[in-house]
Structure formats: structure tokens, C-alpha cells
Symmetry: C2
Subunit: 193 residues, 2 copies
DNA sequence: GAATTCTCGACCGTTTTCTTCGAAAATTTG
DNA sequence: CAAATTTTCGAAGAAAACGGTCGAGAATTC
């Protein structure tokens, strides 16, 4: 009884690994059960469906992403580094998460509107973070930003643009290169000369 | 008619990408068809079964591996570099190929003895290559090898040992580190002092 | 315009897959 | 220890997915 919540978490972590590798549809309950070394039916004692597990996994993963991002920007001082760290960690994490999306956009997007909810929430949070970074950068006279609100939106749009190939093509290997290029442009348009 | 062989190749390349990502079982004919932008039944005009496609893919991939290996050892001069290149390219390729094996060793190994045949053939070829590298190294007085035959076998055994975790564990991230360590040991036991 | 090559949707039989259920372990409680 | 509760599991079902077939019809070649 004391370990029940703990075991639910173990299920999330374990099945999360499989989901991230194969996506929602291609991951079977048998696989999850085997990975947990337990009978398949036992899982239904903790979660009532495959979808419920998936939901919990995505939520968990989203929280990890949030955490990674905040520690990434806290780990450096200068606004430029903060921005660079944020962008890199974000895109790296999305590369990992892209499998979840590929899983969903197969045909079933009807039932998975909870993902859109998470997404919307994180869009707002991201905007706030970006705005803060930009604002502090402007205060420190490192960035040349008059309206951090609008600029944050522009940056976010760019980042979303980077996500697109992650959905469609399976592997665009030059993503790191592209990131550097975009950061370059971003900074040279932003930094005080 | 002129493009038929060409199209067969396109099928191999495309489905090869999917196989390498999801393995044999999790790859569906519908997916392959969708990726090729063609009706599922049309594929059966070119190949008569999923297994036949898979067989062609593995053969194709094996040839690419052979090519990569020969160019890798031709690209450098010194025996030490040749050996190092060979080992690295081989292990990198096997990491990519490991999905095929994971696909097969689910439960169905009965029907896939053609893989064992390829494997055996490449074992022999690999032995020949290793023997040659060692032999030339010894001739150039860089390696201290008296019997290149036996030493080649020893090296091959080590490389096979490295494959094992690729089968069982999905991701052993420190494989590159391990490779360096093994090469270190190998060279320090081989190089003339 | 006939013959051949190629594509495709509809469909079939089988297998896979998610989920349920009831009963048996295992554990806790009285 | 025995009753009560919690946790595990094998068997089984209902539905979906899957590999593969077939015949008809485009598209191309002759």
C-alpha cells in the first residue's frame, strides 16, 4: 500500500522508455509488462488503460522538460548564454519527444486532445520564460529589445519552425548546425553593436 | 520495364529505413506503402512477401557495411589507423544494424536462417581483412604479431563480445568509451615497445 | 487498338492486441 | 492463525490490425 504510488511511477518511467522508442501505437502492453517483469493484467490494477498510461507518461515527460529548461537557464549568468542554453535544451528535448508526436499524428488525434492542452500550457510558460530572458537582457544592456513581449513571440515562432522537420522527416541530422545558424542570426539582430 | 529494377531498389531503401527504426515485426506493409506513396498491393508486384523484402534489405545493408569498411581502411595509411578505423566503423554500423537483430530474435528465428548465412560469410570476410591489416602491420614492424591468423581470430572475438550488449540492452551509451578502452588494450598489447 | 505492364481498392483468414474476469498468491489486519 | 484486503496472474473474448490475394482498370508499349 505504501509502494503503490511508487509502482505507478515505475510503470510510467519504464513504459515511457518504450513509448519514446516506438510511439504509442507500436508499443504493446505485453512489452510494457515484460519490461516490468510482471503479468500483463497486473498493470490494469494500477492504470485502467493504455491511453491512461500514455497520458501519465507525457505529463511526466513534460515536467522533466520544464525542469531541464529552468536549470539550464539558471546554470549561466549572461542573458546571451541563458538564451543559447534555453534554445539548445529545448530543441534537444523535443528531438527526444518527437516520437510521441509521431505516434499520435497517425490517425487518432481525436482522443488525444489532452496533449494539445499540455502543449498550450507550455506555450504560455515558454513565452513567459523567453520574455524574462529578453527583458533581463535588455535591462543589462546586452539585448536591444524594446518590446520583450513581441520579441519573445518571434523567438517562439522560430523555435516552433524548427520543430516541423522533426515531425515529418525522421532524421534531419543537421539540426544542430541549423540551431547554431539561427542563434547566430537571432543574436546579430538582437545584440547591441 | 527499364525502371523495374530501379523501383525494386527504391523499395529496399525506403523500407530499409523503416525496418532499421522499428524492426521486422513492428514494420507494417501499410507503412512501407505509405512511405512509397503507393498502394499496398502494388508492392507485391515487385516482391512477393514481407520476408522477401526484409531479406533484400539485409543483403543490401550488408553490402553497404562491407563498402564502408573497405573505404575506411583505405582512407588511412598506417596499420594502427587502419585497425582503429575498421573497428570504429564496424561497431558504429552494428549499432545501426542492431535493430534488425532485435527484430529477429523475438521468437521467430526459425525462418530467418538466411541471416545466419550472411553472418557466416561476413565472419570469414572480416577475418581475412583483419588478418591482412595485422599482417601488413607486422611487415611494417608496427605490430608485434607472429601469427596473424590467430591474432585476427582473437580480435574478431573481442569485436563480437562488443556486440552482445547491443542485442540485449537497448542503449549502452558508453560504447564509444568502451571501444577506446579496448583499442587501447589491443594496441598496447600489440605495438612494439 | 491490342497486348503488356503496372496500380489499386476491396476483401479474406489469421494473428495480434487491449481489456476483462475470477481466482489464487501475498500481505496486512484483527 | 484466520479473516480481510491488497496485489498478481492466466485464460479468454471481442475487436482491430495485418499480410497477402484477386480481379478490374489505368498507363504504357508495341
Amino acid at each position: 500500500m505504501v509502494n503503490k504510488e511508487e509502482f505507478r511511477k515505475k510503470i510510467i518511467v519504464t513504459s515511457g522508455q518504450i513509448f519514446s522508442r516506438y510511439g504509442f501505437k507500436k508499443t504493446t502492453m505485453d512489452e510494457i509488462a515484460r519490461a516490468l517483469k510482471m503479468g500483463k493484467s497486473s498493470i490494469y490494477y494500477y492504470y485502467k488503460s493504455k491511453e491512461e498510461i500514455f497520458e501519465a507518461v507525457v505529463l511526466h515527460e513534460a515536467n522533466i522538460l520544464r525542469n531541464d529548461l529552468t536549470t539550464a537557464i539558471k546554470s549561466v549568468e549572461s542573458p546571451g548564454d541563458k538564451m543559447r542554453n534555453y534554445v539548445f535544451v529545448r530543441m534537444k528535448s523535443f528531438e527526444k519527444l518527437s516520437n510521441y508526436y509521431n505516434a499520435i499524428f497517425d490517425k487518432n488525434l481525436d482522443h488525444f486532445d489532452f496533449i494539445e492542452a499540455i502543449r498550450a500550457k507550455y506555450d504560455r510558460e515558454e513565452l513567459a520564460i523567453l520574455r524574462l530572458i529578453l527583458y533581463h537582457g535588455a535591462r543589462k544592456k546586452v539585448f536591444n529589445v524594446t518590446n520583450s513581449e513581441y520579441t519573445a513571440l518571434a523567438v517562439q515562432t522560430t523555435l516552433k519552425g524548427l520543430e516541423v522537420p522533426l515531425f515529418w522527416k525522421k532524421r534531419e541530422l543537421n539540426i544542430e548546425e541549423r540551431l547554431n545558424g539561427i542563434l547566430d542570426v537571432l543574436f546579430n539582430g538582437i545584440l547591441k553593436k
